[in-house]
Symmetry: D2
Subunit: 330 residues, 4 copies
């Protein structure tokens, strides 16, 4: 089966290549990049020195069974319509088709949506919540990385609680592969920096998928890969361990941790893997429940999850090519 990656010079592109390269059912048929056009893949990704792949130019007629779009927001919606018309299956990792309400999307991303008719067609690419729809889909939208952590932490509580404060800690690779003043190493290392104190874009995604009223604060921490979402749920302190285990019993990438702080979710325990660790602790004294979830933002938060969707779309076993254990310690 052939897969092409459009916009493969960034970090999600790199992780798509990395994982697909070992996927038993996939041959990478094309990777595109304007910046690296004609160059070997290792010019963009020095870790891939010996890989025989070159960046080519984008064309809608790329020879592929499935196309991953790893383009910046608003660039994807320009390409999706013409790709879908060719009959190929498309997985879009941008934010362009994540929100079902186009008005909320336009407000959140500050742009006019140019393919609103395709929004409904796009299945939200979170297998743990939309497995059956994904199996039947031709077009899947990737999920936001902080959103993924938040939604997976909250989904089992839908109907039991409805308000949450999410305090999220995020590694530097979530900012993408292009630098700015804030990502200059001496300025960025050693940070615990609240880069999105309020109004985080992913609030809407979490609300859409869980019904929770979400108030999020995001911090940049000194980590390359990884997200920890600490979800504080006020006025709620039931023991929900069993509920979580049941909810995710058929989801191979969700691991429910013990309450012992030694084993609670920590991005370090999932790095390099498609796992999402979830731990729940109740604070009876203050009637609060804290749900922690940890993911590798580039794997379960982006490329790994997209490949998990691809497996479902093509009738493969959900875990195919994604079974690597986390790299620990790293």
């Amino acid at each position: 089966m052939k897969a092409a990656i459009i916009g493969a010079s960034g970090y999600t592109g790199a992780d798509l290549i990395r994982i697909l390269d070992s996927h038993p059912d996939i041959e990478i048929s094309a990777i595109t990049s304007r910046k690296y056009l004609g160059k070997s893949v290792w010019k963009a990704h020095p870790s891939m020195r010996n890989l025989k792949l070159r960046f080519t130019e984008y064309t809608k007629d790329v020879d592929a069974d499935v196309i991953f779009l790893a383009l910046p927001h608003t660039a994807s919606m320009e390409k999706v319509p013409e790709l879908l018309e060719t009959g190929v299956k498309v997985i879009d990792l941008s934010a362009d088709f994540r929100l079902k309400d186009v008005k909320i999307w336009e407000k959140t991303y500050g742009a006019k949506h140019t393919a609103p008719n395709l929004i409904e067609k796009a299945v939200y690419g979170l297998p743990e919540l939309h497995r059956e729809e994904i199996k039947k889909a031709d077009f899947v939208s990737g999920t936001g990385c902080e959103a993924t952590a938040g939604i997976l932490a909250l989904a089992p509580l839908q109907g039991k609680a409805d308000k949450v404060i999410i305090d999220v800690k995020v590694g530097g690779s979530a900012a993408g592969s292009t630098g700015n003043a804030g990502t200059h190493y001496p300025a960025r290392a050693g940070n615990v920096r609240p880069y999105a104190p309020v109004k985080h874009r992913h609030q809407e995604e979490i609300k859409q998928e869980t019904g929770f009223e979400v108030s999020m604060t995001a911090h940049a921490v000194d980590l390359v890969r990884g997200i920890l979402a600490t979800c504080h749920i006020p006025n709620f302190s039931e023991d929900v361990s069993k509920l979580y285990r049941d909810f995710y019993k058929d989801s191979p990438f969700i691991r429910i941790t013990p309450k012992d702080p030694k084993f609670l979710p920590n991005p370090k325990y999932v790095v390099g893997s498609n796992y999402c660790d979830i731990g729940v602790v109740t604070d009876e004294e203050h009637k609060r429940t804290v749900v922690f979830s940890a993911i590798d933002n580039l794997v379960k938060g982006a490329s790994g999850q997209a490949i998990q969707c691809m497996n479902l779309m093509f009738g493969l076993k959900e875990e195919t090519g994604l079974e690597a254990l986390p790299l620990y310690p790293a």
Copy 2:
């Protein structure tokens, strides 16, 4: 003026030595350590190679005008009574005399208090709240590092709000200078680890000083020095910038930051200094206020603050010896 440090081989001891060594009015007359008895200071603190100081044995009759106790919890309360009897001024950096209610202390620290009669005498050593009492005190209790960050973030709101969720991110030096399995470098580096999901000991200190009902979750992050406390106050979203500026207008170590995420509190901006940066952002949509506070846990969270108290106790200018700007970038 002579200062002695009891238990000077740990990290708060080291920072007391570091700051007092440059203090214009202080001569360090003794540093004690059982472990390093008779040895040069640099055997414990390799950064102090050329300093002419040796660890000596503890005696209550140490030649000093002020004694800093940098001992583990419960060890301090054994020494404080006999020291105070000699007439020396005492600043205790342990947790032994921080809580005014001995029952809460005993429950929180799981031990019997052996000097309950001295609790009332101990002034809580946070100059921003207890400046006048500290000036008259013979005995000051240091404050908890996470507690310091939390209290300074919340104090101006007393009477306006009363419930808070504090999500705190803490550097590794807060765990002290003695290692355990969890502090082994390969296991600890790259962590965002919720080590105290609920029931953090400092909740009581913050409650005592601010009246807030405090629900805290603490995370170990990949940082040696520094604390960021993110205080989520639900059901409250007034603009309190002016309130904060007014409240701290006579407090030289409090810096109120702009709301712009570029300048919000970040431990990186205070490392090595006695500053506490505080920033307030309101989330009108969700009727939430977020207060961020950043400190260097070993300086404003421990040794610097103790010296700030000492200055007040001896009629010196509050900033003496503490005016160093943060080390940036570091």
Copy 3:
């Protein structure tokens, strides 16, 4: 095919489990640990939460086709004789059987060798130099991690140069999973610490395998995984790029890098993989050649390489189970 790991609670044990778990031809039949006896694997390795494996007790009659020993130095040589007697194939990751001259071994490791008769039988487990012997071997000795980096950097120059100064930078996981005062996170983070200025144990291994007179200095750097060996060869400045490419043309895990500093070996480009990147730069002005080699100390420097040997010993393709690209960026 069944594999057992003796002493599986440390970092090399963890990486053996991690890689073998995805190996298409291997079933892990037993993992042993005295410390974690009877416990689930994730108690020692929190990244392996869902893996269904428990630590059992060591017995020489373990049901396995191949046994990996991941024991401390001197503990291995106690077990190897009885294991080999059972007819099982053995790969020992300790230093016990790396040196062919027992006198040098005893001097280097400060101990009496208890199985000197087996030294000759042990094939030095570096496939790039001993591929054919390994294919026929029943007993293979793992290689030192710094030694691996050094030997692979120097082997092509054998006969052309004979003296080298190796300045090696090593990540914290090379020190093992047991902590000490020097590995306490606040003390270890931010280090560039010369922990072995002279007399590094691996000098002898490199000398044995390359003939070079090796003078090594090793530094602990702020990295969990990874080794960079900078090999300074004085009085030699021929262009040897082609020589290197030819020497390693049949070695799938060796990647020769361009001279451009942008792509020279960097542990970051090999983390999580079995690759060894090698780059050569000549300094005509000072008649010096610098050879850089980068590996992941736990993979190509230990567990990955042991599995590469296993593949050869059992007639499998050398790369089987080891084809994962590096995790980048991480």
Copy 4:
């Protein structure tokens, strides 16, 4: 006494401000920056929030007794002539006046020197070697940071040995405050990257000051501040401990360490201070001497050293304003 800093928005500018702000004899009369013209100092240096200083425009008639130039290479030599004409004392932190041989300078820096007549006038600003000249100087050139580490490590051996391989490990702040693709945090963190395998510019500076034939290789490591220079001296293995102690007996910022690896130079032990730690280990077996030197690149490698020179130029005690102990652990 008044000091002005020209080009104060970078990292050496920041450290000049930081140190001069606490200097008992100095008032900062002006800081200039084109980029931040008219803005408060904290807009460039967020750690300096409360400092009452604004960036102004450069003018040669700035009101100052001493002017520090913290400009990029080649920009300094445009300004120095007109500044010196006003009679003010000048300390230039750029590379423009470090090399005495203008031909070597032009070859090394790839530019035409526009003020060659002033080269001879510039005293090389390393007090440990040029203390008496600096006392009498009106114009001092700052030193390269890697050069400082190298020269201080080698100077005592002048006449005893003459060839050295310097393997240097450098923190990210040495690359300056302006980012590029290589300093983007996810790409730069976790690096041990040989960015200057041969032909390092500072070789010439070290040669000029010590007479050694210097062959240098420089690596970027995961550290914000700090340099470790490992100087491998082949064919030399005398015990020179006493020699070093004698050579530096009147140099308050040089600390000779024990040979015990526990205490050998480590940038971590000097961060935030003007100290240079030096340790010497001999490798009798291979007739090699290894000299380690560690500095904070922004302090002893740049701004601190410039202020040390200023103290000497104005008859102040050499240590004034520079007595802060290192920040440890940090």
